[in-house]
Symmetry: C2
Subunit: 196 residues, 2 copies
């Protein structure tokens, strides 16, 4: 048995390496993660890693693109473009939670970006665009009288974004989304801790 135990070097493709890299970026932080760390985690040398990706920032960009594509696909869906503003908002919030859990590591990385490099600034800009689209919908819902009076649209949009995005802090990778999107939407629209 022992004679047949070969140290099989895993055949890596770009997708596999990206998955490993994003995992390291999340646990150690992007800046604190060296190419040496990534290579060790993938089981290859630094040089081999450079054969697949141009560098550290190329890895980051690929990961952020995946997260942003997932988020913007929500806005393009049928349910996000039909019905009342409030109905569309509810669907977007639930969809955001779905994408967030399905693409957990990539979205987590996106939400931690601070604009240090050109790639990070590009991602921040696209994120702001997404938030602006949702904020516009919040204003529409308020103006349509679908929201109780006294709610400030700009503040509500920011808190809504904060509540939804905070799910990445405790969601499990690949976790079940059976009723989480609906539960988060309920908390957002009817109160996290409503009186009886």
């Amino acid at each position: 048995m022992t004679t047949g135990a070969r140290v099989r070097r895993p055949s890596h493709g770009p997708g596999s390496l990206l998955e490993v890299a994003v995992g390291e970026f999340i646990t150690r932080g992007y800046d604190a993660t060296s190419m040496e760390d990534l290579s060790r985690a993938a089981g290859i040398t630094k040089s081999s890693f450079y054969h697949h990706f141009a560098g550290k920032e190329a890895l980051l960009r690929a990961a952020l693109e995946r997260a942003l594509d997932g988020l913007f696909s929500i806005l393009d869906s049928e349910a996000a473009r039909t019905g009342s503003p409030l109905h569309r908002l509810r669907h977007i919030v639930a969809g955001q939670v779905e994408v967030l859990v399905a693409e957990l590591p990539y979205v987590t990385l996106l939400l931690r970006v601070r604009g240090n490099t050109e790639t990070e600034r590009w991602a921040l800009e696209r994120r702001r665009e997404f938030d602006a689209r949702v904020a516009a919908l919040v204003r529409d819902a308020v103006e349509a009288g679908e929201i109780r009076t006294g709610v400030e649209p700009a503040l509500a949009a920011r808190l809504l974004s904060g509540l939804v995005n905070s799910v990445v802090e405790w969601a499990r990778p690949g976790g079940s989304t059976t009723n989480l999107p609906a539960a988060v939407a309920n908390a957002a629209f009817e109160g996290i801790l409503p009186a009886p």
Copy 2:
């Protein structure tokens, strides 16, 4: 006029340097910020900076201590220890927003810590303790029948924490807290976007 223009070297104390350092940590990220960056921002050399602080991690620890002391002081206040669970929760949420704005850079830094170093793990542990105290109060409120049925205490506590902490993403340093704490509490307990 030009002859009298002296380049006055600002007399730095530890407090002043900490303020500068935390500002740099927030804009660039802790790991991406070098001691050279800190020295340049403070207007002194790297060596002079080491005269005041043992190193980069000592700066981080001092900043995180300040943030955590602010948060725990909320739990010790009179209003957080008297009245019904729901009443106490409301006060804690509002107080959290107050501390968050008053100590914005320090709390911002705390919320970005990921557990890379021993100092960061210590801060994470104290943060978890604070969250656990709040979560226990949420359970008490649910069991006391002060919360509408169907609300899952653990999920509610997490979303509540996420909503409150997200304020650091857009709050202005030293900004006015005239009605922000109350507005955030309203959003949390009565819905961010409640139906009319």
